[in-house]
C-alpha cells in the first residue's frame, strides 16, 4: 500500500516536471547572438559600480580609478637573506614605511599630513600619548617593508636569489602587511594562519622572528604548494622544522574536527573574497564569471564559518585578525558582526572588537584609511598611494 501511494506521488511529480509541450506551443527563446557578451571583468566593474557607489559615495570615483590603474607594491625585506637588502632598497630611493612612521613623533604623525579622504575622518581629537606609545612599542621592529614615496611610480625589480640562495625581498601589496603588524605577535606565542596561501602574510608573520609555533593552513592544495615554494625560497631549512612550522591543507571551516581548539595565542584569517582589484584585471578564473555565481553568493557564509573556526581555535584572551581584500560591507563588517553574534549564541564564545585607531593613526601618511568605519579598518586605493583595498578587524576572545 505504502509502495503504491509512493509511486503515485512520484508519478505526479514526474508529470509535473516533464510536462510535454507541443512544439508549436513552445516559446522560442531568442538566440544568444544578439545579447551582449560581457566579460567577467566587465561584470565585476558593473557590480562594483552599483555596490560601492552606494557605500562610498563621493569617494568611489577616486577609488575606482585607483583600482583600474596599476597598483603599487611594497618590498617585504627578508631578514634571513645574507645580502644587505636594506642598503640596496634605500639606494633605490624608497623608504621603510613602518620604521619611518614609528620614529615620527606622535603629535606630528597625527597632525601634519592631511589625507585626501580626510573631510569626515575623525582623527581630530588628540590621541593620548601613552596609548600611541604603547601601540608603537608593540609593533615588531623586525618587519621591514619598503615602498616608493608618494607620487613616485617606479617599480621594484623582481627579487633574485642572493649568495645563500634566498630571495632578498618579497613583493606584495604593502597594505597587507598591516593586518600582520596589527596582530602584534609577542615573543613565544603560537599563531595559526587559517587561510595562508599564497604566503605573503605568512612570510610577514615569520619575519617578526617572535613566533614559537606557526600553523599555516589553506584548503586549496595547489595554492598550498605555492606557499611552500615561497617559504622555501625565503627561509633557511632549520626554521621550517616540524617544531616551528606546520603546513596543512585542511578545510578551515571544519577546524574544530582537528581538535586544536582554544590553544593558539593569535589567529590570522585572511578569508577568500571577491578580490576587488584582481577581479577587475584578470579574466582567468574570475569570481564574477557566470559559472562561479553560486560560489560568489556563498562567500559571506564561508567567511563567517571561517571566522567562527578562528574564534574557536584561539585561546581565551587571545586575538583573531580577520582580513579581506574587498571593499564590500557584506563581506567585511557584516561578516564580523554576524560571526560575533553567532559565536555568542551557539558556541558560547564572547568576543570584543579591538579599537585599531591608534594603530591606523601611525600609518595615515602612507595609506588612506576609509572614514566612518564602525567595525575594523579599511585601506582605500588612491592614485597617489595605490595600495589596497584591505579590510581588517581585530577581535579578542573574552570567554
Amino acid at each position: 500500500m505504502a509502495v503504491q501511494t509512493n509511486t503515485r506521488v512520484l508519478l505526479n511529480k514526474v508529470r509535473g516536471i516533464l510536462q510535454f509541450i507541443q512544439k508549436r506551443h513552445r516559446v522560442k527563446t531568442k538566440w544568444a547572438a544578439t545579447s551582449p557578451k560581457l566579460s567577467a571583468t566587465d561584470l565585476a566593474l558593473q557590480n562594483h559600480d552599483v555596490m560601492y557607489n552606494m557605500q562610498l559615495g563621493e569617494l568611489w570615483p577616486s577609488v575606482r580609478v585607483g583600482l583600474l590603474t596599476e597598483q603599487k607594491y611594497g618590498a617585504l625585506v627578508n631578514n634571513f637573506s645574507c645580502d644587505d637588502t636594506v642598503m640596496y632598497l634605500q639606494s633605490l630611493g624608497c623608504q621603510d614605511f613602518i620604521a619611518s612612521s614609528l620614529h615620527m613623533e606622535g603629535s606630528k604623525a597625527a597632525d601634519s599630513v592631511i589625507p585626501p579622504y580626510s573631510e569626515s575622518l575623525q582623527f581630530d581629537q588628540p590621541i593620548e600619548g601613552t596609548y600611541t606609545d604603547l601601540t608603537r612599542a608593540s609593533i615588531s621592529p623586525n618587519v621591514k617593508c619598503f615602498v616608493f614615496p608618494k607620487g613616485d611610480i617606479s617599480r621594484f625589480k623582481p627579487a633574485r636569489p642572493d649568495s645563500c640562495g634566498y630571495l632578498s625581498y618579497y613583493l606584495m601589496d604593502a597594505a597587507s602587511v598591516l593586518p600582520v603588524l596589527a596582530l602584534n605577535v609577542q615573543k613565544g606565542q603560537s599563531v595559526l594562519d587559517l587561510c595562508a596561501a599564497p604566503g605573503g602574510k605568512t612570510l610577514a608573520l615569520l619575519q617578526t622572528q617572535a613566533i614559537r609555533f606557526l600553523w599555516a593552513n589553506d584548503w586549496s592544495g595547489s595554492r598550498m604548494s605555492r606557499l611552500q615554494r615561497t617559504l622555501k625560497s625565503c627561509l633557511p631549512s632549520e626554521l621550517c622544522s616540524e617544531d616551528n612550522l606546520c603546513i596543512t591543507s585542511l578545510d578551515g571551516r571544519k577546524w574544530q574536527e582537528v581538535g586544536e581548539n582554544g590553544t593558539f595565542d593569535k589567529v590570522l584569517v585572511d578569508v577568500p573574497c571577491t578580490t576587488d582589484r584582481h577581479s577587475l584585471v584578470e579574466e582567468d578564473n574570475n569570481i564574477f564569471s557566470r559559472s562561479r555565481t553560486k560560489e560568489k553568493q556563498s562567500l559571506p557564509l564561508c567567511q563567517t564559518q571561517l571566522l567562527l573556526s578562528a574564534l574557536q581555535a584561539v585561546r581565551v584572551g587571545g586575538e583573531v585578525m580577520y582580513s579581506t581584500c574587498t571593499l564590500s560591507q557584506l563581506q567585511n563588517q557584516c561578516v564580523v558582526e554576524q560571526a560575533m553574534s553567532l559565536a555568542k549564541e551557539e558556541l558560547g564564545i564572547s568576543a570584543e572588537v579591538v579599537d585599531l585607531q591608534p594603530f591606523t593613526a601611525l600609518f595615515q601618511d602612507t595609506f588612506y584609511f576609509a572614514p566612518d568605519m564602525n567595525v575594523g579598518v579599511m585601506v582605500l586605493p588612491h592614485l597617489t598611494a595605490n595600495f589596497g583595498p584591505i579590510y581588517f578587524c581585530k577581535l579578542r576572545r573574552l570567554s
Binding site: D49, W60, V65, T69, E70, G151, I153, T384
Partner: protein, 342 residues
C-alpha cells in the same frame, strides 16, 4: 621700381578673386597712404624701360628699406622685416624681392600682421612670391573663404611653406580615411591648419581613437577642434574620466548607461575647470594619472612593436611572393629587404 610692387598688389588681388580684389582695394582705401602710393606708382613711372619691368615682374622688385616704407610699413616695422630678410637669406643672394610681401598685401593683411607672420615663420622670407601666391589660391580652392584665409595665414603662416600638392594630398587623405564632409574639412582647415604639417598616420590614429574608443561622430570632432589637441592629452583626459566612471564608450546603437560629457566641453577647458567640473578630482591625482597612463601606453607600444617584428619575420620566412605583393603598402622597406636577400 616700387611701382611694380603696387602693380603686383592690384594684379594679384584680381587674379585671386574679383571679390577679394574689391575687398583689398577697399582695404587699401582705408590705408590711404598705401593706396595713394600704389596709384602713383602705376601712373607716374611710365618712362621705365619695358625690359626691366618684365624682369621685375618675374622676380618681384629688389627689397630695400625705401620700398618697404613706401609699401606702408612704419620705420621700425620695415627695419624688422629687412633685418629678417637679410638674416634668413644671408649672403647667398644679393637681391631680395618683395614679391612675397606684395602677395600678402594683396591678400589684405596689413603691415603689422605681415610683420607678425614673418616673425612666426621666418622660412617664408625665402619663398618665392609667385609660389606663395599659388599656394594661397590653392587654399582658396579648398574652401577657405575671404576672412578665414587671412585668419589661417596670420595664425599659422607655416601653411604657406608647404607645397600645394602636399596640402591637397593631406586634405584628400583626411577626407577619405576619416570620412569628413567637405564642409567639415573646411572647418578643420580653418580651425586647425597645423594638421597639414602633422604626420597623417598619427592624425588617422587620433581620429580612430575618438571615433571607435570614445564613440564621437565627425561633426562633434570638428566642433571640439579635436585635431588641435595632442593624442596624449586626449587619451589622458578620456581615460581619466572613463576610469573614474564618468565616461562610457557607447555601444553600437550609441547608448550609454550614463550621460557622457561633450567632447568639446572637457577637451579644451583649462585643467582646473576640467578637474572641478568633469573629473571631480584633485590636481595631484591627475598628475599621477598622466604619468601612469604614459607608462602604460609606452609599454603597450613596445609590445605592439615586438608583435610587428614577429609578423615581419613570419613573412620573411614563408611567403616571399606576398611581400612582393605588399610592396606597395609597405613602401621601400619590403623592396629593399628582398633586394638584400638576393
Amino acid at each position: 621700381m616700387s611701382r611694380i610692387c603696387g602693380q603686383q598688389v592690384v594684379r594679384w588681388s584680381l587674379r585671386l578673386s574679383p571679390s577679394l580684389a574689391l575687398k583689398s582695394a577697399a582695404r587699401a582705401e582705408q590705408n590711404a597712404r598705401q593706396f595713394a602710393f600704389a596709384c602713383r606708382m602705376l601712373c607716374s613711372h611710365a618712362h621705365e624701360s619695358q625690359t626691366s619691368r618684365a624682369s621685375a615682374q618675374q622676380h618681384g622688385s629688389e627689397l630695400t628699406l625705401r620700398i618697404l616704407l613706401d609699401l606702408g610699413f612704419t620705420e621700425t616695422q620695415a627695419e624688422q622685416v629687412y633685418e629678417g630678410v637679410t638674416r634668413s637669406l644671408g649672403k647667398r643672394s644679393t637681391t631680395h624681392d618683395t614679391s612675397t610681401i606684395t602677395a600678402l598685401l594683396a591678400l589684405g593683411l596689413n603691415s603689422s600682421s605681415i610683420v607678425k607672420v614673418f616673425d612666426k615663420c621666418p622660412a617664408l622670407y625665402t619663398e618665392k612670391g609667385a609660389v606663395v601666391q599659388q599656394r594661397m589660391q590653392n587654399l582658396c580652392k579648398l574652401g577657405l573663404v575671404e576672412g578665414s584665409i587671412q585668419r589661417v595665414i596670420s595664425y599659422r603662416p607655416q601653411i604657406l611653406t608647404l607645397p600645394a600638392k602636399k596640402v591637397n594630398a593631406a586634405v584628400q587623405y583626411i577626407r577619405t580615411k576619416c570620412l569628413f564632409t567637405a564642409q567639415q574639412m573646411r572647418d578643420i582647415l580653418r580651425d586647425s591648419p597645423e594638421v597639414m604639417e602633422e604626420d597623417l598616420k598619427h592624425l588617422e590614429l587620433k581620429f580612430q581613437y575618438a571615433y571607435f574608443r570614445m564613440g564621437v561622430k565627425q561633426a562633434e570632432m570638428v566642433k571640439a577642434k579635436l585635431f588641435k589637441v595632442s593624442m596624449e592629452e586626449l587619451r589622458c583626459r578620456h581615460c581619466f574620466l572613463e576610469r573614474r566612471g564618468f565616461y562610457q564608450t557607447p555601444d553600437k546603437k550609441g547608448q550609454t548607461l550614463i550621460v557622457n560629457p561633450k567632447l568639446k566641453d572637457f577637451l579644451f577647458t583649462p585643467e582646473d575647470v576640467f578637474l572641478s567640473q568633469f573629473a571631480m578630482a584633485t590636481k595631484e591625482e591627475l598628475d599621477m594619472f598622466r604619468k601612469l597612463i604614459a607608462r602604460e601606453d609606452e609599454e603597450k607600444g613596445k609590445m605592439l612593436e615586438y608583435g610587428d617584428i614577429e609578423e615581419d619575420k613570419e613573412e620573411d620566412e614563408g611567403e616571399e611572393d606576398l611581400t612582393d605583393f605588399r610592396r606597395g603598402n609597405m613602401g621601400h622597406m619590403g623592396y629593399e629587404r628582398n633586394k638584400r636577400k638576393r
